[in-house]
């Protein structure tokens, strides 16, 4: 099953793969905003703008 959601920044329709995970970071193909999957619930996915990179982020 795939998911559909709208970009919270530009409202573009986004298709998400069936293995979409909560906390996954994706990029909106229209506006290139980095988004994070807040919730995967049955057939619904909630997206929000991903947090900015912090000073201690990385490997």
């Amino acid at each position: 099953m795939t998911y559909q959601a709208n970009c919270p920044i530009c409202q573009a329709e986004i298709n998400l793969a069936s293995d979409t995970q909560e906390s996954e970071v994706i990029t909106c193909s229209d506006c290139q905003s980095r988004l994070v999957v807040d919730k995967v619930d049955m057939d619904r996915v909630d997206l929000s703008q991903a947090p900015e990179v912090e000073e201690d982020w990385g490997e």
Partner: protein
Amino acid sequence: MSLTLGLLHSTIRADEKLLLKAAKDRRIEVRLVDIRRQRFDLSYQADFDIALERSVSTSQGFYAASFLESLKISVINSTDVARVCQDKFLTSLTLWQAQVPTPRFALVFSLDQALEFIESIGGFPVVIKPTVGSWGRLMAKINDRQALEAIIEHKQFLGSVYQKSLYFQEYIDKPQRDIRAFVIDHKVIAAIYRRSSHWITNTARGGQASNCPIDKDLATICQKASRAVGGGILAMDVFETSNGYLINEINHTMEFKNSQEPTGVNISGAIIDYCLSFYDQN
């Protein structure tokens, strides 16, 4: 007894998705533990046997791992390994103490001491890096005294507390590439060249990955470095010089998504296999 693996994470990157797939392929149960949604206190009940630390935030991952270790839950990598690898100065010190070849380095807190170090290694250029950080952020190649003065002034006025500890490395003139070696349980399982016309070769900054053959010298220096910092699952940045290899940095929560295809090595599978073997042996 079958393993239930706790995967400690914050944002889920492509790397974590590859790990989930590798665990699924091996029929290993995984508990996804978003550390930002946990309350690490005396009421905490863990529902996994061992943990694989994959937080994108170094400090949050370290605290989460420290908490779990206090409950006698093994974390890969351990906080002993993380403490050294998450700090570039401590990594350099540990490598130097173990006589693993590494670029000359210094940690100073002021301009005068920075100038003394630079003079001691034969002058500019020199590289300044934050002690904590990744993806090539906030690094600078400093070519002269004027640039040095400007960068130190900016760090001292605008930087966070981390930025006020000034970590310097001698500049190594690379052949437009360096090596990223993936080391698990003291053995190099794969390596890539990271090519770039820029002196920063991180793939996060556009460096192009291609397979790097693992020769005896590379295997040996990486094994020695792995033993020095405590082993586990490590990614080592290695410089090629006319006098042999130098270990530059060691990452303890490595990203590998750009390296599986060029090397043909299932790095995510090797990580999960290591977790399984660690659990069986402990």
